[in-house]
């Protein structure tokens, strides 16, 4: 059992364990901290968007930290809305809004917490991506590794190798689903799905006909095992029916 600590976030006393991240403790205590690049799907966070910054006061010293990756090591006071934080967050949001003007979520955040006075910055046209790398993390964690960040500096982007359809992509949409700004484009009609320049067939449940993804993603998920033909809900229902029959006369 790890050590218990009590910290104060915006004056509210919060119980936490040593080593927990400030963001997690704040959320558990219903203290909202805005974030973009943090996903519950992973235990290690990107700390890339910098929107989740908070001020921490430990032993009388105050500093600005990213709450999504700052582990609590001692009793401290956390300020999520101090003047300094609001100012710095506004600057970060303004920069992100110029980087990704088409991202609705950033526009909304910028409206709520942003400030005026950054008009001199150049806005990138038709951009939604903030290069947080969550999509790459998702693809890597699935073991597909189809996408990565390519090039550097102002040309940096997320792409497949050589800008070609990837043989490793399984069309699972994990990258698009995890993206905080909806920057990864894909299209889908009744029978096919196209993502990263590659078109996949769609797989439907044999029983209820609901969408199960692509044959490639189903195959990847089971590895060497048998590819399922029915969706999770139907499989559970079938199992439950069987159980009911088995124990009928007990």
């Amino acid at each position: 059992m790890s050590e218990k600590l009590t910290i104060r976030i915006d004056g509210v006393e919060c119980e936490c364990e040593k080593g927990e991240y400030i963001y997690d403790v704040a959320r558990r205590n219903n203290i909202p901290i805005p974030v973009l690049c943090r996903s519950d799907a992973f235990s290690d966070h990107r700390a890339c968007c910098r929107i989740c910054i908070v001020e921490v006061e430990e032993r009388g010293k105050r500093k600005v930290v990213t709450s999504c990756v700052y582990p609590i090591s001692q009793e401290c006071d956390v300020y999520t809305k101090s003047e300094k934080i609001l100012e710095e967050r506004a600057v970060i949001l303004s920069l992100l809004a110029h980087r990704a003007p088409d991202a609705q979520r950033i526009a909304d955040m910028n409206k709520a917490w942003g400030r005026e006075g950054f008009e001199r910055l150049v806005t990138i046209d038709n951009e939604k991506c903030i290069l947080c790398g969550l999509c790459v993390q998702a693809c890597d964690s699935l073991g597909t590794g189809a996408i990565s960040t390519v090039l550097r500096g102002t040309e940096k982007k997320v792409d497949t190798p050589f800008d070609k359809p990837s043989e490793f992509c399984v069309g699972c949409l994990s990258c698009a689903n995890v993206c905080p700004t909806g920057a990864i484009e894909f299209s889908q009609d009744e029978k096919t799905r196209t993502i990263w320049n590659r078109t996949f067939d769609l797989l439907f449940c044999e029983q209820c006909g609901s969408l199960m993804g692509t044959p490639e993603s189903a195959r990847h998920a089971v590895g060497e095992g048998e590819v399922p033909t029915v969706c999770d809900a139907c499989r559970k229902k079938k199992l439950a029916d069987e159980m009911m029959q088995t124990y009928r006369y007990v």
Binding site: V136, C139, D140, T144, G145, A146, I147, S148, T149, V150, L151, R152, T160, P161, F162, S166, F168
Partner: protein, 163 residues
């Protein structure tokens, strides 16, 4: 070089290293050295050997300036654009090279003889402006000297650094 020769050269380079991801950069540098670029087959063979994603190696290959995924020219001309060289007219050298070879920094001539690169500092600020061709320094360069230097390399010869 035939495809087969290239493939055997690739596996020779790759297999000189243990199958560990930390040797990825070293193997890619060797390929760059052997072929003057990293062929696509080389990247996928290395990924298979090291057991990592090809996308990850592609990310590295596009990140480092020293690695190239398109064939470089036989002669690589590096124009120093560090502070001292820049002030002493490095960009004029680039313009003169464009006039001679018809390419901007970062490009390769169509016949594959020359590649021109703009680099940050070659560490010879006292000799500015500096141009490096295949490892040979051309110091305190004047724009008028460039056609002669290019011609000597184009003819297959080399010129001394202080002619």
């Amino acid at each position: 070089m035939t495809d087969q020769e290239q493939a055997s050269k690739i596996s020779e380079i790759i297999e000189a290293y243990p199958a560990d991801q930390r040797f990825a950069l070293a193997a890619m540098q060797d390929m760059q050295h052997a072929f003057n670029y990293i062929p696509e087959e080389g990247l996928s063979a290395l990924a298979a050997y090291l057991g990592c994603a090809e996308a990850q190696l592609y990310s590295m290959a596009t990140f480092y300036k020293a690695l190239s995924l398109t064939p470089k020219g036989d002669h690589i001309v590096k124009i120093c654009n560090g502070t001292a060289c820049h002030l002493r007219g490095a960009m004029n050298l680039a313009t003169e090279l464009k006039r001679n070879l018809g390419i901007d920094p970062g490009e390769t001539t169509e016949d594959g003889t020359f590649s021109v690169e703009l680099v940050n500092c070659l560490g010879s600020c006292a000799l500015a402006p500096v141009m490096l061709v295949d490892g040979t320094y051309h110091n305190k360069l004047r724009v008028e000297q460039i056609p002669g230097i290019i011609e000597s390399y184009a003819n297959g010869g080399e010129v001394s650094a202080h002619d």
